[in-house]
């Protein structure tokens, strides 16, 4: 059986840069895949490219985005519009700005069901109320007439989710859906996404920089660094035995209560340097910051090699000499 979404060798280019290179990714129906990386790693661009929502100057330079047997990267504009919002929906990062400030939330939800399901004005309104109820917004009858500025951040993100799931899409792409929210609200929103994924049997592609989110909600994790996928594994495996030095660094930099780590004990580990050091690097983009880097690392980009089924890593150093100091990471709350 082929995957719900199968991205093959995706590269995204701006006139003077190629911020995403050769990224491959699959999402199965009903599965949650997390795409992890720091700011500037190209994870959001990758997400936007799937529905061709890239900024004006960016374009898909090469690669395929296979969904339901069709390549979305080459689909006609009209056919692509039928996919957007109906088969694949997106939730964006900033609920403050991602909703139109001058239309009521009911209108914004109704718009998508009228478009794709041809509902009448009245039926779409009723459906909007149902959807607000589905995303657990209290008093949906009243809220449906309100405007985004009258709702809290968490409420707005629920409205975004209601818009996204309105046509029961087969794939939901959530681009940092909780970054702009309070910690307490974050968990509620992610719980909601997870519940909807199960109820509507959607695939969920979760873009995030938060490993805590990954630990609790993802089935599989792909780690990106400087525009390339550097490691992929089921989440338990990744947390137990991270292979790529970047992944190890990320996990070591996460605070863990079990380890008795606290700001009073000592500083949190960090990955020294910045992602900017990847610019102009001929070999592994992480080499300038990598404690294990060798001369060979700086000559050619290491291949992403398959180590076990569903287990990929792009570091020849750690793959050859497997985990010496396994990093035992536990979920962060």
């Amino acid at each position: 059986m082929s995957a719900l979404l199968d991205v093959r060798g995706l590269s995204i280019a701006f006139p003077k840069a190629t911020p995403v290179r050769d990224v491959s990714l699959t999402v199965e129906a009903g599965e949650t895949v997390a795409l992890v990386g720091e700011s500037g790693s190209g994870k959001s661009l990758t997400a936007l490219a799937l529905l061709r929502l890239l900024p004006e100057r960016a374009r898909i330079a090469s690669g395929e985005v296979l969904f339901g047997g069709r390549d979305l990267a080459r689909l006609g504009d009209r056919e692509l519009r039928d996919v957007r919002g109906r088969d694949i929906a997106m939730v964006f990062q900033e609920p403050m700005t991602a909703l139109n400030p001058v239309l009521s939330v009911g209108d914004q939800i109704a718009e998508v069901v009228r478009l794709h399901q041809g509902l009448s004005r009245g039926a779409a309104r009723a459906r909007a109320v149902e959807l607000l109820d589905l995303v657990r917004i209290p008093e949906p009858q009243r809220r449906v007439a309100e405007y985004p500025h009258e709702l809290s951040g968490g409420m707005r993100q629920r409205v975004m989710i209601a818009i996204a799931v309105a046509c029961s899409p087969r794939l939901l792409i959530a681009d940092e859906p909780t970054t702009a929210l309070d910690v307490t609200i974050q968990a509620q929103v992610l719980d909601l996404l997870d519940a909807l994924r199960r109820d509507l049997s959607m695939g969920l592609l979760l873009i995030t920089h938060d490993l805590g989110v990954v630990a609790e909600w993802a089935d599989r994790v792909a780690v990106m660094y400087a525009g390339r996928k550097v490691e992929e594994a089921p989440f338990e495996v990744l947390f137990a035995t991270p292979l790529h030095p970047y992944t190890r660094g990320l996990l070591a930099a996460s605070p863990r209560l079990e380890a008795g780590q606290h700001c009073s004990v000592g500083p949190l580990n960090e990955i020294r340097g910045s992602i900017a050091s990847a610019a102009g690097e001929k070999g592994c983009a992480f080499a300038p910051r990598c404690p294990l880097a060798r001369a060979a690392c700086r000559i050619a980009v290491p291949d992403l090699v398959s180590i076990a089924p569903g287990r990929l890593s792009a570091c020849p150093v750690t793959t050859a000499a497997p985990v010496s100091e396994a990093c035992h990471a536990a979920p962060v709350g």
Binding site: R81, G85, E94, A98, L103, E111, V112, L115, I163
Partner: protein, 328 residues
Amino acid sequence: MRQLPRILTAVRRTALQSVPTIVGIVILNFFLLRLAPGDAADVLAGEAGAATEETLAALKAKFGFDLPVLQQLGTYLWNLAHFSLGISPRYNQPVAELIAERLPNTLSLMGAALGFALLTGIALGAVMASFAGRVPDKVLSVLSLLFYSIPSFWIGLMLIVLFAVKLGWLPSGGAETIGAGFSGGEMLLDRARYLVLPAFSLALFYVAIYARLTRGEMLEVKAQDHVRTARAKGLSPFAVATRHVLRNALIPVTTMAGIHLAGLLGGAVVVETVYSWPGLGRLAYEAVLGRDFHVLLGILLLSSLLVVAINAAIDILQAALDPRIEVR
């Protein structure tokens, strides 16, 4: 509209608050106009050519210009309180009648010009924004710069040369065919033919302003996140541009149009003169030359009333367009 009760209170309060404002404006205008040398009697006497001291004194006494200034103001305000704008010494006619004769002409010219300018300007701006940086945008930008910088009297004259003199399609001036005795639909058509050229000359400048403003605002809105959300819903580019971009971009355009609407009442002197259009702008201009202060005060009073009314209307319109703005 759930803001309706709020709107009614707001209108009532604006009306009450405007009374002292208007009285203040009248008094201020009254004294400002006194700063100009001479009065209507001087001008009348001067035009007569052979006026004696006695005739002048008689004229002044007749119109009350010999009274102390404060007493004149008192009389004016007293009349105003009885809804009388006084009598024009020059036309020997009540000011209210004079203004009432001219007002429909000015309103139709203003309405036609601004209506045309808004529709065309917004449409052009939307086209420019959709093709930003490409050929249609560049051509229209140059065109709107031209409209913006060509003086309206020159456009007026050129249009007369082309459409009235060379082609003979449209009349060169006036507001209706004199003595034609049209009625009903024929009259409307006749008036419309006279209206086309002046309204168009007046509108071009505003077309340029609205086009550039709409273009800029649309490009700004287009870059906002919610437009990407709209595209992610699968809406067509046209639906995104009209429902999600243009609508949000119109809010600053309404503010600008409100300011223009209020200003056009007295500001169409040049075009009215070129087309000998019997509107308020020319009446005001002639009143200044003739030191016909009662007429001038009447027009200024009307203008200030219009400004107050339009400002209130724009506030309500903006609240309707943008729910974040509340009618207070």
